[in-house]
């Protein structure tokens, strides 16, 4: 009875049809043939694009650095296989617009020859700073899809008082099961990666530049005490495997969480695991929590133990049009067309290609695009799997309000956006929308709610830029007017001086003439 009055541990969300069983039962395929050409984008992460340091025609080895990270938030890019660089140019990006982006094209030689790597016997003897440096140099980014550079997050963990590291194994999107398989098959490696991350977040010097004196942080030897691996309860096999792997380590616990989309949203997960709510506009580290994906933990393990940079990832290929749905490990830069050929995708039946999950993924216009660090899945959906978009009037059932995990009122926001009153939508909380798509999914009238919010978010951004430009324009115009005025004044003064000089000359002349 008391539990009736307790605050629910998660808000909103939907339970979509999972479509995972067929793919999740098969082991990760490692027999994917090495593509002849790899198209490696220089930006596969949040932040500044990497800067290439190779030349066209150069021979590179597997794992060799192709482009270095520039700026604070960035990640380097490495060669996924050995071969020759044939081009550095603009090619279509794996993005809904497929607009061009700078890529390195690598022609593989089939030898798959590794560059010399640096193995470490006992990484726990390394400095925590050294761990982040190596993670950063390995080009590791958040593999859940957000692609935020992992090293930056580890540094943030060291600088703020982070007491809990949550490892996100929820994989709440339908169809996707690459993390599920990874946890089943490589649990020991993942747990090792988690422990390395915990070590990397230990603050050995105790200095803190971000919080005032007397705060909780800044104590020497402060460290993140525990790691929690959270796995949705629709993955019992992965849970058992991870539990067994984590058993020897008291700092790492493995828990089951309810299956509900979007459980993997960081704020939802933090709320469920720790009971803390992250305030609007704050980072999760401000409530003492950092979240990493299981795939990221595995990549950290490989980078620290074997010195191997991030070169490939497990990708789920699924959907109604896929004859052989599977999880397959592919090198970055593999074209989706080759992946589809391997998985025998029926082109005729494919109504939509999606990179990522069906709820939040991007629909891609064609298959001539490369897989990148963010590619958790490629779906080829048939017409019957798509949502009916025959839009009907809103019946004010408020289903969208009850499923919104961010606690917004999607119907009101959409009505404002429909008549372009974006400021009103922002007042209703447009900026807190995470585009999870629950509202569009649940809407019985098929109103494209999340599509409205994505349009509006872009438009708000564009308006901010326009505002910034108009302020700059006013400054430029003022500067020009001031300059013009100064020049005119100068000319007037020069003119006066000239007239005075002329008068003086004439006076002198007249005096001389008078003397003569």
């Amino acid at each position: 009875m008391l539990s009736f009055f307790k605050k629910p541990r998660f808000r909103g969300g939907v339970h979509a049809e999972e479509h995972k069983t067929a793919t999740a039962a098969l082991p990760i395929a490692s027999n994917f043939p090495l593509p002849k050409k790899l198209y490696i984008p220089l930006q596969q992460h949040v932040g500044k694009p990497a800067e290439p340091l190779i030349m066209v025609g150069e021979k590179v080895l597997k794992g060799q650095l192709l482009a270095y990270s520039q700026g604070l938030i960035s990640a380097p890019v490495h060669a996924p296989s050995s071969g020759v660089i044939v081009d550095v140019n603009d090619y279509p990006a794996p993005h809904p617009s497929a607009l061009p982006i700078r890529m390195i094209v690598l022609e593989t030689d089939g030898k798959d020859e590794w560059v010399k790597t640096q193995t470490v016997d006992d990484p726990f003897q390394l400095n925590p700073e050294e761990i982040s440096l190596r993670v950063g140099a390995a080009g590791i980014v958040g593999l859940g899809g957000a692609t935020f550079p992992t090293a930056v997050k580890l540094n943030m963990g060291r600088e703020n008082h982070v007491d809990t590291l949550i490892i996100n194994g929820s994989e709440c999107e339908p169809y996707l099961c690459c993390d599920d398989r990874l946890m089943q098959e490589r649990a020991v490696e993942i747990i090792d990666g988690v422990r390395l991350m915990l070590h990397g977040m230990t603050n050995s010097s105790g200095t803190n530049l971000h919080l005032p004196e007397g705060g909780r942080a800044g104590q020497p030897g402060m460290k993140t005490e525990r790691a929690v691996v959270a796995i949705e309860d629709n993955k019992p096999l992965a849970f058992v495997a991870m539990l067994a792997a984590a058993e020897p380590y008291p700092t790492v616990s493995v828990i089951q969480i309810p299956t509900r989309y979007p459980m993997g949203w960081d704020r939802q997960l933090i709320g469920y695991v720790t009971g803390k709510e992250v305030p609007v506009g704050c980072r999760s580290s401000e409530v003492g929590v950092t979240i990493h994906n299981v795939g990221t933990a595995y990549a950290v393990h490989k980078a620290i133990r074997y010195g191997q940079p991030l070169l490939s990832r497990v990708v789920t290929v699924a959907g109604g049009a896929v004859k052989r749905p599977m999880n397959v490990e592919v090198p970055f830069g593999t074209l989706i067309s080759e992946l589809f050929e391997f998985c025998e995708v029926d082109k005729e039946q494919t109504a939509r290609i999606i990179m990522g999950g069906p709820m939040m993924g991007d629909s891609l216009p064609h298959v001539g695009l490369p897989t990148v660090k963010a590619t958790s899945g490629i779906l080829a959906l048939t017409q019957s799997e798509l949502k009916n978009t025959d839009e009907q009037p809103c019946i004010r059932c408020a289903s969208c309000v009850s499923v919104c995990p961010a606690g917004l009122r999607p119907l009101d926001m959409a009505n404002n956006i429909r008549i372009n009153q974006l400021d009103a939508a922002v007042d209703l909380g447009l900026k807190d929308c995470i585009s999870c798509g629950c509202c569009s999914y649940i809407c019985p009238s098929n109103i494209p709610l999340v599509q409205f919010f994505k349009y509006a978010s872009g438009e708000v951004m564009a308006r901010q830029q326009a505002q910034h430009k108009s302020e700059q324009t006013k400054r430029l115009i003022d500067a020009r007017n001031a300059r013009m005025e100064r020049i005119a004044r100068q000319q007037r003064e020069d003119e006066l001086v000239r007239i005075a000089a002329k008068a003086e000359r004439e006076r002198l002349k007249a005096e001389q003439e008078a003397l003569v």
């Binding site: 979509a16 809904p96 607009l99 982006i101 859940g144 899809g145 957000a146 996100n168 994989e171 999107e173 339908p174 979007p262 949203w265 109504a351 999606i354 990522g356 999950g357 069906p358 709820m359 939040m360 993924g361 991007d362 629909s363 963010a374 958790s376 959906l381 017409q383 799997e385 798509l386 949502k387 978009t389 008549i419 372009n420 009153q421 974006l422 995470i434 585009s435 999870c436 798509g437 629950c438 569009s440 999914y441 494209p448 999340v450 599509q451 409205f452 994505k454 349009y455 872009g458 438009e459 564009a462 505002q467 430009k469 108009s470 324009t473 006013k474 430029l476 115009i477 500067a479 020009r480």
Partner: protein
């Protein structure tokens, strides 16, 4: 008698208050309506005249008098219309306001003679060059006022739409909604 006293007292009161207003009007005089200043600050200030008024100040005056709709400024688009409506307390339906097409001037290097006329008229100093040298437009500072296009003797300055790249690409407004997968968002969270 009562009538007389009422007339006298009201007349005196009227005269007194009138005098007071007269004095206040003289000493507390406002140079111009503050709402006009606020409106003028919102308007782009490039004096382009596309609204039909001879400049941004007269346009702001017309807006304040209610002689022009909030959607009158083409370069400002609906963002500006929304700000004006909020300031004037107008009810606004922006669904048929056309967003201005973003343009930028570009010099065709084949025909530029380096006559310097264009950068003399550019209100934001967005054109750089020197006599008998090919001029160039600083795209970030160009406000698409088209003044340079008018003075260019060889028609080498033309307006071009701003190129769409991944940096400025935005989702379109869902009008004729195409078939969607369940949600289809942009950034994955789990």
């Amino acid at each position: 008698m009562y009538v007389l006293s009422a007339i006298v007292s009201l007349t005196l009161l009227g005269l007194f208050l009138g005098l007071l207003l007269g004095i206040a009007g003289k000493y507390l005089k406002v140079e111009s309506s503050p709402i006009v200043d606020e409106l003028e600050a919102l308007l782009p200030g490039s004096q382009c005249g596309q609204c039909g008024f001879p400049g941004c100040r007269p346009a702001a005056e017309a807006l304040a008098d209610g002689n022009a709709p909030a959607t009158m400024c083409p370069p400002g688009g609906s963002a500006l219309a929304e700000q004006i409506a909020a300031l004037l307390g107008l009810d606004l339906d922006l669904s048929d306001v056309k967003e201005p097409e973003l343009l930028v001037a570009r010099v065709s290097e084949d025909t530029c003679t380096g006559c310097t006329r264009c950068f003399k008229v550019c209100p934001t100093d967005a054109i750089v060059g020197a006599p008998k040298q090919i001029h160039a437009v600083v795209a970030d500072a160009c406000i698409a006022c088209k003044k340079c296009v008018e003075v260019c003797p060889t028609e080498c300055l033309q307006m071009h739409p701003i190129e769409v790249t991944l940096r400025n690409w935005r989702w379109a407004k869902p009008l004729n909604v195409p078939v969607q997968a369940m949600g289809t968002g942009s950034n994955a969270i789990c």
